[in-house]
Amino acid sequence: MTCEITSRPLYLAGVERHLGDPGSGAVVLFVGRVRRETDRGRRITALDYETDRAFVLQQLGDLERQAIQRFAVRRVYVIHRVGRIRVGAASVIIAVAAAHRATAFRAARFLIEKLKREVPIWKANRWARSPAARRRRTPPPPPGRRSPG
């Protein structure tokens, strides 16, 4: 069981080493990515993700424990990226290793649904071609800092 918050790009290659376990015949991974979208003609170019760093790992860890108890899965790994993430790049990877595939699928789905509701992470759209929309009242705090100082 491991969870991480990072401001660096996410790659599947980095996930593999967390899932080694000869008793797990099935691994299910979910990758959430920033999707190209338009809203009334405006195009999203990126999402800005922020988190409450003092609290997020505790919440993620709690989710992972729930998944392990509820579905009898053997390995859980969750990594969420924060900061600016461009369209096409991954924002979150959830991986579950289990003896059998049915539980791995269920646990992975459980984790992403719960993560969206119970883990303190927020996103804000970055729009292309609309300076007004790009204006922010307050810039988000720099990564790694808990307060603006």
Binding site: Y49, T51, D52, A54, P120, I121, R136, P148
Partner: protein, 85 residues
């Protein structure tokens, strides 16, 4: 010795307040959290609708109700609805 509570505002709460954190003096015996937040809402009325849908975290635990006390050195985070993933 600290004599204040630090209030942290995330996402839309931060936008409503215009700051990521505010320090508020409280007496050594503590203060009612609800009263503290009301005083912030008075200065930043745009925070009110956000606060209604937010979760409140005191020192790493969700708190609810109106009688929660905060003491000097406490950290209180305002969490609008999450949108990660």
């Amino acid at each position: 010795m600290k004599s204040s509570v630090r209030l942290l505002f995330f996402a839309t709460a931060r936008e409503a307040v215009g700051a990521a954190a505010i320090d508020r003096e409280v007496p050594a015996r503590g203060a009612i959290l609800q009263a503290l937040l009301s005083s912030v809402v008075e200065e930043h009325p745009r925070l009110e609708p956000v606060l209604k849908v937010s979760r409140v975290v005191r020192n790493g635990r969700y708190v609810s109700g109106t009688r929660t006390r905060v003491r000097p050195g406490d950290e209180v985070a305002i969490h609008p609805p999450y949108s990660g993933g």
